[in-house]
């Protein structure tokens, strides 16, 4: 036995950029977060060649989960072709040799910033969400130590107080993105800044969702088939954005979450936020074949 048989030959970089111990820690923390759905697990959060706050949390999870066969899709606010999404996708492919795709149905792993694709994800798919602020209690309890005690005690009264205040002041719940939700009836989490439209997609979803905040060094998860319930008053129902009746000006698709494009005359045009869904719709319209999968929303409504 010699040193050369015990060690691997020198390489310029580990597979998937992160070193073995970093990935081992992340795997353990992911397992823990799957075991206690919605509960934030601290992790070390290594340096990656990207600024904190640009998706480093999601990137570390993706780099840990991929193998050379994993087909990776990266989206930023629904779009596959934004600079940030393209850069992350290229980086993962370069350091892990993974194939990439833009098609939601083809992907094994989807890293996303602020959206969940409109097509239903399957059991064999993993969604990785980038999280800027993982602590739902921060607006009501700035002291992190006390906030952790509150999670431990399921002391969430203040979260409803926040909603109460919004209704009293504005006549309705004003919380848009990051709508606090109760996971598995126990922990309140922030589902990352996805719109209200996307929160119901997490409820009893077939896929695994891992949420990771690189700057804040926290990881949490929604395992497959887990209850995710937005916090609401029993007599004030949860409402998603009123996008159900909007039509995309480019693809003509209706009943999905839209981006609003202000026009010169002061009016607004709408474009479907899930860019690949738009592309697929256009292809179908132009006779290039139907590639669209089943969607969570049907005719602009989320079936119960």
């Amino acid at each position: 036995m010699s040193l050369s048989t015990l060690t691997k030959p020198w390489e310029a970089m580990s597979y998937g950029f992160l070193d073995g111990s970093a990935k081992r820690e992340l795997r353990r923390k992911m397992l823990k977060s799957v075991a206690v759905p919605g509960c934030q697990m601290p992790y070390a959060s290594r340096e990656v060649p990207m600024a904190r706050g640009w998706g480093t949390g999601g990137l570390q999870v993706s780099l840990t989960l991929v193998n050379p066969q994993t087909r990776v899709k990266v989206i930023d606010q629904g779009a596959d072709d934004s600079v940030n999404a393209a850069s992350i996708r290229r980086f993962i492919a370069r350091v892990a040799g993974t194939p990439t795709t833009m098609d939601t149905l083809d992907a094994d792993l989807i890293q996303s910033r602020h959206r969940i694709p409109e097509e239903i994800l399957r059991e064999d798919q993993v969604l990785v969400l980038q999280v800027p602020n993982p602590e739902p209690l921060r607006p009501v309890q700035p002291n992190t130590s006390i906030a952790r005690q509150m999670h431990a005690d399921a002391d969430y009264g203040r979260m409803w107080l926040q909603l109460y205040e919004q209704i009293v002041r504005s006549g309705r719940v004003m919380q848009g993105a990051s709508y606090p939700s109760l996971v598995h009836g126990r922990h309140v989490m922030t589902p990352s800044p996805i719109p209200r439209w996307d929160v119901p997609k997490l409820h009893m979803a077939k896929h695994l969702t891992i949420l990771s905040a690189g700057r804040e060094k926290r990881i949490f998860a929604v395992p497959p088939y887990t209850r995710v319930e937005p916090l609401v008053f029993s007599d004030v129902p949860y409402k998603v954005e009123e996008h159900g009746a909007l039509t995309c000006t480019r693809s003509g698709t209706t009943g999905f979450f839209m981006n609003e494009i202000p026009q010169d005359d002061g009016s607004s045009a709408f474009e479907v936020s899930d860019s690949e869904w738009g592309v697929k719709t256009i292809r179908a319209r132009d006779g290039e074949g139907e590639s669209r999968g089943e969607t969570w929303y049907k005719d602009g409504e989320m079936p119960q």
Partner: protein, 265 residues
Amino acid sequence: MTLTLDAPRIVETRPLLEVHGVSKAYGPVQAVRNVSAHAYPGEVLGIVGESGSGKSTLLRMMNLEEIPEDGSYTLDLPDVSGNLFELDRFARRMLCATKIGIVYQNPHLGLLMKHSSSGNVAERLLVAGERSFATLRAAATEALDASEFPLDRLDAPPIELSGGMQQRVQLAKAIALEPALLLLDEPTTGLDVSVQALVLDTLKRLQQDRHITMVIVSHDLGVIRTLADRVMVMRRGEVVETGLADQIFQDPQHPYTQQLVHAKL
């Protein structure tokens, strides 16, 4: 010397609140030394003493904010048993939220100053698990009304309110869940005399209408005289004298109590 009093013979109910032999030191300062106190259901116990006498520390113990080194604390209520100082954090929080109300001298301690007044009251019910907006709204309105808070200011944040109004919000919050025990820490200190009278009157009314057991701490003898049935005099962390309120004020026994009573204008 006067006579030693017997144990109660006519009143057979147990005291609602019993604190026995509590002591607490902050570093070298002995804030409370071997103090015992009790209050019967519907009774108002007044605790007087100068600053540093340990009266506020004792009250904070009754609210389980402060855990003494020694001693026991019991409340004679259904589903409540044992020494409350031994409860874990979770049980303590639920007990305080549902059975005990408190009004602090400093409204900042008891209120979220930038939330709405009604929201401050509703929070108590939220902690206890109420999740209907309409119920929260109705209960907050009712409690604020009972505290004689002007209902057109229901959603004004306490930071915009006068001191007297802030105390009413605290009071409404304290009584919203109909607690068995209401703790008052210098509830009128720092208020104008006329506002003070109104707050005292509200307290008196609540006591008569709801028969809540109260413990009120004050260095203001006028406040204690107006509200208390029985008075406990504290000095340097110890109880020097207890008695019926009129007896303490008209026939104080201990030199310190005499000094205190005679110093009153």
